[in-house]
């Protein structure tokens, strides 16, 4: 009670309170849009700026589950994009992401939070395979919880599909399984209309990853079709425009 009163006083006394009528939720929605735009463009610096934005908001709303979710999600994206560019060891970013997502999940259990948290643990295992001993089982449990909370959540299916691409068939993965999951993902996105500030990312990524599955299984025409659909969903997706589509077109030539 005392804490609520103090927070209320702090908000009332803060000039920010006047600037952000929607409070934490408004900041979370701003962060969501900023992260999504940055991810689509493949702009790591902008993802970092978005993460910084959430961190600032968290100084005023330290226990807001939406902000904690987007803090963890931004850190996860930043770590993944940095690792892809071999910029830095992403271990600390992933560690911080897991911590933020765990706090968010405790305050407001959400399918995406558990799914991203599961992927964060997967990334941590990728950085240090020995962590697989303790985090492998935990990652599976978290994905299981994500499925319980969002049986038809396309982002949960998308992360499962991506994971299947990199998991050997003997461990329940493989390209065939990935294709099945990603096809289902694209179907689920057709009726996905989340209300702000709920997560809304992934529509273009589903097609981009499905296209890569087609590429790996030597089906370039289907791959190009999938990449075209990814660009329909997000015309500014630079990864598809400048990397994936040219690569499949080179193959077709």
């Amino acid at each position: 009670m005392r804490r609520t009163l103090l927070l209320g006083w702090a908000l009332a006394a803060s000039p920010l309170a006047a600037q952000a009528p929607a409070g934490a939720t408004g900041w979370a929605d701003s962060a969501r849009r900023e992260i999504d735009a940055a991810v689509i463009r493949g702009d790591t610096a902008r993802v970092s700026q978005a993460r910084a934005l959430v961190e600032r908001a968290l100084t005023l709303f330290p226990d807001d589950p939406w902000l904690l979710h987007y803090h963890g999600y931004a850190l996860y994206r930043e770590a993944t994009m940095n690792a892809a560019r071999s910029k830095a060891n992403p271990a600390k970013l992933l560690e911080a992401a897991a911590e933020a997502l765990e706090r968010s999940a405790k305050l407001r259990p959400m399918a995406e939070t558990y799914a991203v948290w599961s992927s964060v643990l997967g990334q941590q295992i990728g950085v240090n395979p020995m962590l697989g001993m303790t985090l492998g089982q935990r990652s599976s449990e978290l994905m299981g919880r994500a499925e319980e909370l969002g049986r038809d959540n396309p982002r949960v299916w998308l992360l499962k599909g991506i994971s299947a691409i990199f998991t050997p068939e003997t461990y329940g993965g493989g390209l065939e399984q990935a294709e099945k999951l990603l096809r289902r993902t694209t179907e689920l996105y057709q009726r996905d209309q989340p209300a702000p500030p709920s997560p809304a990312w992934g529509r273009d990524e589903a097609w981009a990853w499905l296209g890569q599955v087609f590429q790996r299984t030597k089906r370039p025409a289907e791959a190009r079709e999938a990449f075209d659909k990814a660009l329909e969903a997000a015309p500014e997706n630079n990864w598809v425009r400048f990397v994936l589509l040219p690569s499949v077109e080179r193959g077709l030539d």
């Binding site: 970092s48 910084a52 600032r56 100084t59 600390k92 560690e95 395979p129 697989g132 001993m133 492998g136």
Partner: protein, 744 residues
């Protein structure tokens, strides 16, 4: 200046970061442009750095009142616009640093300067362990290739670099690893979990002149001076665990040419996460000795040849198979002056090792399997000592770490080895008569032994800052015909971030070398040797400073030693007590200082006198200081100073003439009662990095060993009748060494 500040001399140094930050603000698009024209908004500029002045990039800097802010650039500079005026709180946050809050008055009249301190986000797992030579972020890596290559006087040798850490005694100028009062044979070397039976090149009773493995073949070096866990067996004093390089990140080649060696290396990064590496080295010290001179009279200067290669397959992120093979040959001939005979000691040896290692993580289980074979063919001759030794060794090691709970892991494993050693030749009957016509015993025998072991070890984070490791191993050797049981316990307690206390206790057994069991000159009844370790210490780590202090006590039982006439003597006892200290300071940019000090008091049974006396390895004080300076990321200059108390020796008091053999028979004084003069040496090294073409890295290096040409003594040479003795100067006169290495 449009910003309204006068860039005075004090401010000029930090202009670049703030201009960079300002440009960042200018480049943020239309909204920023609008903001700039908004007269109510003003610019907040500044920089964030650590206490030592290093810029902090990627820090989140903002006003608590409005949350207006931005990230710092690579130079630590920040800049953002705000409408807020008056007293404000500036917050700086970054992963790995303490949150910093600072009161500011806005608009500020000059750029804001923020000093922040590094801090771990979460306390990392305790990796500090008793006896470990150096703690780093990575749990199983304690020395890097670069550390080895840049240690002055180490000649890019792994063991010589390890010698600069505390707990190792400087017995001579070779590469022998004498750990805390123990003999060189009490330290075991493992390569990818395979036991190495010939860890030295140009082997001698005190180890060898160089280690067998180039640091450039390795990507991880762990060394423990005691208190090591139950997975390490058949070692009384120390363990060196080396790991070969993994798959190359890209295909590349390289060549190195120096005063004493020529080598070429190639690495192929193949599809499907497959990699291949190969290295060939030819060494010949003739040119080096011609240029620098030597105190030794070589009949055949040391030379050698190494061929090595490996295949690495990372078949999935957690699974990897490595196969490594190496074949080495070396030869030398050097004149030795003994009172009874002066002649050439000739040695020719060939060693090989082949290792296949698999590791993976399967759910909560992380298995490792290593299978290896190693062989040696060695011929040594000096007067009536003529010996050909053949050794073939098969070794299997398997273990599985099981995560029982997030804070509790269990490791179970086992080892099997089979060793077949052949000895053929003659051995002089007395140490004082070694000429070609001296009385000798013919040796022609084969010793075959097997050893198997099981071990279990558990690591338990009892509460967050406490790590307790307990283990038990049991070994049985067909040579010693006894089963041994070795319980071992270690604990680490973190007092606060960066400060850790450690302690370890354990029992260690080692089977004497096969030559001790040779039926002609050996003793087939020798039991395994035994040592007990007690260690307690602490480590304090602050930004840029690491201090480590460790005290230990070690007792020995059933030591197997050889007398001067080479007869084996069992049942020896002994004890070592000492203190090791290590300090590393790298707080100043470009400087790295490492200093170590070891104090020891060691005694053990003298096999000739049959009484407990000063140990031959009782080097009371050993000091090593290394200072390294890097300039502009291209130049690296380092110097090292080493001091060691003189080595003990047993004096000869007189001699009587033996008319039968026509040699003088020495009369020895109290065992190990005198010492050689103290050892002092100052070495320098430097390197320069240059890029000749894109993708190339060329390194020019030069070393000056014993820069002050100090006359160190490593023994005495006696006259034929033992009436006079003259000091034997170490072979390291002032010597220069240089070369170049390039990659492509």
């Amino acid at each position: 200046m449009a910003l309204g500040w006068g860039p005075g001399p004090r401010y000029r140094a930090s202009m670049r970061p703030t201009i960079v930050a300002l440009l960042g603000v200018l480049a943020t698009g239309a909204s920023a442009a609008r903001a700039q024209t908004d007269p109510t908004r003003h610019l907040v500029l500044g920089s964030v750095a650590t206490r030592d002045g290093s810029p902090v990039a990627g820090a989140n800097v903002f006003l608590l009142e409005t949350l207006d802010g931005g990230l710092t650039d690579a130079a630590g500079g920040f800049g953002f616009r705000t409408t807020f005026r008056g007293a404000a709180t500036l917050v700086v946050r970054r992963i790995g640093y303490r949150e910093h809050r600072q009161s500011v008055q806005l608009p500020a009249s000059e750029p804001l300067r923020v000093v922040t301190e590094a801090q771990a986000v979460r306390l990392p797992p305790i990796t500090v362990a008793a006896g470990k030579v150096l703690a780093t972020d990575e749990p199983d890596v304690s020395l890097t290739t670069l550390t080895v290559a840049t240690t002055p006087g180490a000649a890019a040798d792994v063991y010589r670099a390890i010698q600069t850490f505390p707990g190792l005694q400087t017995v001579d100028e070779g590469a022998g690893l004498f750990v805390r009062g123990g003999d060189v044979s009490e330290t075991r070397v493992l390569l990818d979990d395979a036991l190495v039976i010939s860890p030295y090149k140009h082997e001698s009773p005190t180890g060898g002149f160089f280690g067998s493995f180039s640091p450039f073949l390795l990507d991880g070096i762990f060394f423990s001076t005691g208190g090591f866990g139950a997975r390490y067996g058949d070692a009384l004093s120390g363990v060196g665990a080396l790991r070969t390089q993994g798959r190359p990140a890209k295909s590349a080649g390289g060549a190195t040419v120096s005063l004493a060696a020529l080598s070429g290396t190639a690495g192929l990064a193949l599809p499907d996460n497959l990699g291949v590496r190969a290295t060939a080295t030819r060494s010949h010290t003739g040119l080096m000795f011609d240029l620098n001179g030597t105190t030794r009279d070589f009949t055949h200067v040391p030379e050698g040849r190494d061929l090595s290669g490996g295949v690495q397959w990372k078949y999935r992120p957690s699974g990897e198979v490595r196969v490594f093979g190496m074949d080495q040959w070396s030869q030398l001939g050097v004149v030795l002056d003994e009172p009874s005979f002066s002649g050439s000691f000739n040695a020719n040896e060939r060693n090989d090792i082949y290792v296949a290692r698999w590791q993976d993580v399967l759910g909560p289980v992380a298995p490792v399997l290593s299978l290896s074979t190693a062989g040696t063919a060695r011929r040594q001759e000096f007067g009536s000592y003529q010996m050909e030794i053949g050794d073939r060794f098969f070794f299997g090691h398997g273990r599985a770490a099981i995560a029982l709970a997030p804070a509790w892991a269990l490791t179970v494993g086992g080892e099997v080895e089979r060793r077949r050693s052949t000895f053929e030749g003659t051995v002089p009957d007395e140490d004082y008569a070694v000429g070609p016509d001296a009385r000798s015993t013919v040796v022609a025998s084969t010793v075959t032994g097997t050893r198997h072991a099981l071990f279990v070890e558990t690591g338990w984070h009892a509460v967050n800052p406490v790590l307790i490791t307990a283990g038990l191993r049991t070994d049985r050797s067909s040579l010693a015909r006894t089963r041994t049981w070795d319980p071992r316990v270690a604990a680490a307690f973190r007092l606060f971030e960066g400060a850790t206390l450690t302690a370890a206790w354990g029992i260690y057994h080692q089977v004497p070398a096969p030559f001790f069991y040779e039926p002609t000159t050996g003793d087939p009844a020798l039991p395994p040797m035994r040592a007990t370790h007690w260690i307690a210490g602490g480590q304090l780590e602050r930004v840029g400073v690491l201090v480590r202090l460790e005290a230990y006590a070690k007792t020995y039982q059933d030591l197997a030693q050889r007398r001067r006439d080479r007869d084996p003597v069992g049942g020896g006892t002994g004890a070592s007590q000492g203190v090791d200290a290590f300090v590393r300071v790298n707080a100043l940019p470009g400087f790295d200082l490492r200093a170590s000090y070891s104090y020891i008091h060691a005694r053990r049974t003298d096999p000739d006198a049959g009484v407990e006396a000063r140990s031959p390895f009782d080097i009371t004080h050993v000091v090593s200081v290394i200072l390294e300076r890097t300039f502009a990321n291209r130049w690296r200059v380092s110097g090292s100073y080493r001091y060691a108390t003189g080595r003990p020796f047993t004096p000869v008091l007189g001699a009587a003439f033996d008319s039968t053999q026509r040699v003088f028979v020495p009369a020895y004084g109290d065992p190990w009662s005198e010492r050689l003069p103290a050892f002092r040496r100052f070495d320098l090294s430097g390197s320069y990095l240059h890029r000749l073409w894109p993708g190339n890295l060329t390194v020019l290096f030069v070393g000056l060993t014993n820069a002050f040409d100090t006359e160190n003594v490593f023994g005495y040479r006696y006259s034929e009748d033992y009436a006079t003795r003259t000091p034997e100067r170490s072979q390291f006169k002032r010597a220069v060494y240089f070369g170049a290495s390039l990659t492509f």
